[in-house]
Symmetry: C3
Subunit: 679 residues, 3 copies
């Protein structure tokens, strides 16, 4: 997972030789090279170029192109074409199509209209991937392979008939018996018991669209399982044919998919597709006060949790847009560069632009690439050239680890439960957004830490503080790990509704915080959503106001635990809102509510991890700060997403990787500017 | 219909023995009894506990539980389980399922996914109900039976194939010939004539979703007919097997169902499910200025019109919520009690809480009961205990009739026409809301009076004033009844668009008010929706402004009738807006518009029924007042729905059933407080 | 196309003899005649009156009615009944039904639920039209025929199975080979290539609803083709049977239909259905500041482009409304007259009211006609009588041409591309709305000019100025025509994104403005939607602010071209925003953005066509002015849509066709008033 694929910062682009007259190929490759691009990603979607008719394979087209790449010294990442089955395939075998919940099939004409479970699709995908891998696996121009394209993009629900068949297999493996499935799904409620496996289906239409929540949770697990299996099937084929040192990846960060497990099982490296310009839509409400494009840092943090040294397979280079949706302004001068540095600041060693030249037809004809339709040199190509130069100056950063002050703890059980359970979702979304914003405004970098079967205590002890906002679902394994973390000296911060559920999604018949009660020193006596009929409820902590938004657990502290804050209003005024409990060398802080930017500032300060670089640099909230470190060297990235200049103050002199020595004192970042300093 | 089921105020709860480990049963029953609960409702939804496989019946489970109830002295209302067909049933016989209008079947996984018309479902329901009734019909613990659960809940439209078959039967019975159906449905318009019965269907998809309105009206009548027949079929079976004095009921107040006829035909008593906390949603816009939970009184008034001495089968005891929708705050301390008293204040003699303990799994896991998942005693159980004590103090109220100052007249033809006809709906909804609010703010209690085939003049003459806001559909029978009412001394108030239609929903070819023209002394010359391009139109009545909102009929008065108010603006300024016509010993007041709180204050004052208790008590608008009377004793209920205290003033001393003697002068009700005084 | 059907201004109404008791026929016809109505439109929708059962034809009903018309001297326009297939037909042949995109059929119960492509429907329509035409074609009462009713109303998308079959035929004719279709549709993108014609379908459900844009464009062309073929098939039958001088028309102005080609191919005259009261809805947001009912002038201008001397087949006479949607206030006194004159002011010589008497049943029972259900004389009939009198006073106007100061250029390629391409749509809608509003406020009448294969230079040179706002799609033919127009002395004004695409909807691989670059003297260097994150961007023109809204092309001027205005902000501040290029005797003005009312005022003034009547009359923005001219006489129509009086000033005396001589000076139009003066 921490394999280092790119020894130096590397620049790429996505190219579609099949979209252009072959007479353009040579000049395109040479102009790329001239701009500093050394890798191109090709081939994904191009099934018909290999198998134009069922069972008839041909390789001429890409052989021609790849030989040209070899000649021109261009490295290639080759994508398997399974995201876009041909028309001849879906017309002959409609069972390979994905369906809407009512059974209506998703037809040819877009992409990702297939399912992952029909034996016929798996067979045909295996065949075409085998053919391609056998033929191209050892082509010298190819340095890596991308499996499919953006797994679970367009659609991450699957309701084909083959999905019900595969779901039953998945459930049989998980539960063994229908009795156990009935227990797990609580089917005694509303008489839902199953007496035959054939009665079990993926979600289908119901009177008001609602589904059994435990079935839904298993269904998302099943979707993730199917996608992972689909990816693993391809990886296995590829590994039989590709050369030593050639890596396997896939791109994206999509829902209903355990990206961590998929990466562990099948990939050498994980890549993300970063489109921060989605923050400036014309066709949706635009919020000037939000973090806008700076919010993409949150996805980069999540990507980093999957793969510390990741790449950007698709980095935005022009306006995003389909003919049917998404109207984006053109990136302002400097934004292309800024967003590229944003990726590097969060851990990317590879940045590949989508796409070399804007496609002049079909759905994505407004998804602008570096070049416009007219193929003239333009300001965006100038910026790409400049990023190439900057990458050389930033060379020491390659392979550096990100440096975080705390970690936000997640697990897929709770992420997915938060998706299907709106009581869970409301607090989960509020608190995770607050953690990101508080981190950004206070320049307190954080990592995301997914608790997985493979997670070790060592993965936790890298952080002095863990925030696990609303682990409604707890397991003994995760609870034990957290207990060990606290005992060895860690600080664990949790919020309301922790420990409410078991992994089936059942509410446990014991007081919250359930399995964590042994270390929190608390018990929840009563609880309520903050009523819309009341003013916001807050608490008092050492004479100061503490936000307690969204939901309130009314806590009691067990002996030895200390009530830090008490609610100040509603019917539970005076009851405990925040309790601290010492455990071993560490402690647990239990907050009765969701998190906010404000209460996180207080909690991060109280736990001593707020603003770790404040002795070195002072920044306004409007600048982002990230840190990467390697071999004892630490690099701070400062990024200005605003259209006006912003200043920062160095408390002592430092070295900029771009501008050389910076004296102590005030410095200015221009609009969309950035700085990288070594401290 | 006025059978008295509960000789004293009675407290119950809903219990699901199948949801819990049997080891909990005994303590649950004993804790209930200790809290004052003497009746539980069980069994609805539990089909599989009786027929786990087709045709295999077993009774062990409920025998065990019911014997325990008998042992512990707990009375039981037993629900037939037909609201949740088993998976084995719907998988084998998909023809029993309800469908969406496009034919997509509503699948297993929720409840009420069946139709009422497929012969197979009717056969299987009859069989399981017969089996249960035969086995349990004379069990000594069972005091009543509930048929199904919330008929027409989740969905009150039915589009299965069997519905079209049954609709044709219904229409043949109604019309005899296609010629008559074509006439009634106005099929000559747009060439819709039917030339064979097989061409007739329940509504199906059309180009823009609109349907023939006369067909739609018959369709709602058909849905009501189907649900009533389904209920009657079960009642007939039950009556063959249950003991003397054991009552039959069902719960709910749902659409597309003539609850009055159903109760008359099949039930001994009607029960309502009261969830006032729906007024405080997080997942919808919340309106601080509305009547909020106090609005549930309107449903209680409607319930009272179905059954004067009704029960509450499900009284809210905790937050409402599904995992997939509805986020409710926990009831504030006092609200559980307040809402219970609200039910009693409007006529309930039985209050049964939903549910004993919150289910810790499946769709309704956030539909909190009295107890939380953790089963500890809590503040809500304390409130239930207190309600038990209060019921003893309120004992004299049991069986008392509600005491209203006027009645709002309704009939199902107009209620349903108002649903499918948006011109009708807009005035109907505005005026009915205004009647409720005016009654609440002025402390002028009212009843709803449904005009039905069985309604007699005596049912009308109980009220000095009747408001029949917008009887677009008039029938000779209803017109004659109203004429007789007026002639004997009653005051009838009507609004715009009265008499526009016949029972087919055709507009009559005569001036409004059509069949009532003989007693109104008016004719409508012209009419218009109040234009959004003009300021609100009002009228002048004795120098004061009279609201004339939404729609304006321009009236002319016949000789003998008196124009009370004239419009003050728009192109009909100076024309008659309100006309009074003396008829016999009574009179008719014809208002040309919809009703508002303001114009109702004026009309109620003019007709002498405003604020009937104002010589005894003065209250702010924020308190609700209801009255019940029995054996010459009158009880006034005062209810405070607000989170702050409110005061009232007694003009003379009175006796509180709770606090003993209350002297004349000012008294205070605390937040969520109430008072019951005898005058 | 410029055939003159009505030698004098003519008044009609729509009548449905089948909706009424025959005893009403005679009095209805006589009352119509008395009111000045000389023509009625009947028969559309009445299929069952001719063919009550498959293949059984009868003519008694309409023979009776038409003979009465002849007797009473009433002229008749007879509609073919193909918009409403009978129930017996659609039940037996469901393949004739239209379908939703997911294949769900649109069922009996509304209208226009059929498709245009199933052989069975075409066969049955041809048969019934042949039967009717053969029987009634030479009936002396019939002066004209209406084909179907409002083609493409209710629904202008067609997804029946027969549509896919017909679409393939259409595409084979257009492309010949699949290779060419694949090229045109850009199917190499996302591997969409077709290898068999059977793989091609009309749009079907896709993962997120998006479709291949080039397919969509061809699909709209196909829908238009199908509707035109359906119309032509009926016209051909009618022409075989109808008498000399009897005209053929159809009514409406609906989407996905080349009304110009249809009229040219099949019709003698085109009629429009004008319902300005749609501007005052209760069931939608109402915007007081918009042009409201005055906006209907825009549709009349478009109608005029189809057919200079057109009729109004359905002119609003009462509130619009269905039971299921649309709540309209009753037209205020004067509005019926005003809207009738609005039609005449824009070129109508025939005004026929919808409908004589409001239907007292079915879907349109609130679509009020002249008379109400009660059949009494009313104020609306009085207004109709008065319009009859006014038409006599306006007799000189009959057959006069409209007189415009400039033309808005359109073509169907761009209209339809603007529908499927939201980047195109946003600028197209903004600019076309701005042209209409600027014209209205400045009293600068304009025509719409559709560039069609038949369009000649002479059609263009009638206008000194053409505005072709955003011709994204250019063709050599249209570009050449515009070049010739400019060279001979015309002024062409274009906006951003001109020349971006070819007729397939592909973006061309050359700089904008593409095919027009030869005459614009410009090249587009960069472009962007105006960012929602920036304040509005404007330009400076001679020291004044010039709006440059929505989208900005950054222009460069070639030698000889003159930069008139430069952007004032954003990253392209100082770059050219408006360029003027002299070409031959004319010039091209290229604006880099969309149009606004403000920048159009400046451009119209600069090009010398603003407010052409300002030397004769001064009017406030709130009055509309139109001009018609004939035989050297010019008539100005002044219309007041407001509920208050407005004044205008004559700079010299003039003659009113209504009020005789008007001296120079100020005159007042009452609310909803109008004036027609000859100058």
């Amino acid at each position: 997972m921490s394999k280092q694929i790119w020894p130096t910062l590397t620049m790429g682009t996505c190219y579609y030789p099949e979209h252009w007259d072959e007479s353009l190929w040579l000049s395109d490759l040479r102009r790329m090279k001239e701009a500093g691009i050394s890798v191109i990603r090709i081939g994904e979607f191009a099934w018909n170029k290999f198998e134009p008719r069922e069972g008839e394979f041909t390789f001429d087209f890409f052989d021609r192109f790849l030989d040209l790449c070899r000649q021109e010294g261009m490295q290639v990442i080759f994508g398997t074409p399974t995201a876009t089955p041909p028309a001849w395939l879906t017309e002959k075998y409609p069972e390979v199509l994905n369906a809407f919940i009512d059974g209506t099939l998703m037809r040819h004409g877009l992409r990702k209209h297939h399912n992952y479970t029909s034996p016929k699709y798996l067979e045909l995908c295996a065949r075409v991937v085998t053919q391609i891998a056998r033929h191209l696996g050892r082509h010298p121009a190819i340095v890596g392979w991308q499996i499919d394209n953006e797994l679970n993009c367009e659609c991450n629900t699957f309701y084909a008939e083959s999905d019900s068949v595969a779901f039953r297999v998945f459930l049989r493996e998980k539960y063994g018996t229908l009795e156990e499935l009935n227990r797990s799904w609580g089917t005694v409620f509303w008489n839902q018991d199953y007496t035959g496996w054939d009665q079990v289906y993926v979600p289908r239409p119901t009177a008001n669209g609602s589904q059994n929540p435990h079935m839904e949770l298993d269904y998302i697990r099943f979707v993730s399982h199917s996608a992972r299996r689909f990816c693993a099937m391809q990886a296995e084929i590829l590994r039989q044919h590709i050369g030593e040192g050639v890596y396997i990846t896939t791109n994206g960060l999509f829902g209903h998919l355990d990206n961590h497990a998929m990466t562990r099982e099948s990939l050498d490296v994980y890549t993300y597709d970063s489109y921060p310009n989605f923050a400036f839509p014309l066709d949706q409400a635009f919020n000037h006060s939000a973090l806008n494009d700076r919010s993409w840092s949150r996805s980069l943090i999540e990507t980093r949790s999957v793969c510390p040294h990741f790449g950007i397979m698709e980095q935005q280079s022009g306006s995003n847009g389909w003919h049917s949706r998404m109207e984006g302004p053109m990136p302002r001068p400097g934004q292309l560069t800024l967003w590229s540095i944003q990726s590097i600041a969060h851990g990317a060693d590879f940045v590949s632009y989508f796409r070399w030249r804007t496609c002049n037809f079909s759905t994505e004809m407004y998804w602008h690439g570096i070049l416009n339709y007219d193929n003239r040199d333009n300001r965006r190509l100038q910026e790409v050239r400049n990023v190439g130069r900057l990458m050389k100056q930033l060379a020491p950063v390659a392979g550096a680890d990100s440096k975080a002050a705390f970690a936000l703890v997640r697990d897929y059980d709770n992420q997915w439960d938060g998706e299907i359970d709106m009581w869970h979702r409301r607090i989960q979304q509020a608190s995770e957004q607050a953690v990101f914003e508080a981190s950004q405004y206070t320049h307190t970098p954080y990592d995301m830490l997914y608790l997985q079967p493979e997670t070790t205590l060592g993965d936790l002890t890298r952080y002095p503080v863990l925030i696990y906002p609303h682990a409604e679902i707890l397991t003994p394994e995760r609870s034990d790990l957290l207990k060990a973390y606290v005992e060895q000296g860690g600080t664990l911060i949790i919020g309301c509704r922790t420990g409410q559920k078991d992994p089936d999604g059942h509410c446990v018949m014991q007081p919250m915080p359930g399995l964590l009660a042994g270390i929190t020193g608390t018990q929840v006596e009563d609880f309520t959503f903050c009523s819309p009929a009341e003013p916001p409820v807050t608490a008092i902590w050492n004479g100061e106001t503490l936000d307690t938004p969204v939901f309130n657990d009314i806590l009691t502290a067990t002996p030895g635990a200390k009530v830090l804050a008490r609610y100040a209003s509603s019917f539970y005024a005076g009851e405990a809102a925040l309790v601290e409990n010492p455990v071993g060398k560490g402690r647990v802080l239990h907050l009765g509510s969701a998190f906010s930017v404000s209460n996180l500032r207080q909690l991060l300060a109280y736990t001593g991890v707020l603003s770790p670089w404040q002795d070195i640099i002072h920044l306004p909230e409007g600048l982002e700060l990230t840190a990467r470190e390697k071999d004892g060297r630490t690099f701070l990235f400062l990024l200005n997403y605003r259209s006006e200049a912003q200043s920062f103050t160095l408390l002592k002199s430092a070295a900029s990787l771009i501008h050389g020595d910076l004296p102590a004192g005030q410095h200015t970042l221009p609009a969309y500017g950035f700085e990288v300093i070594e401290i």
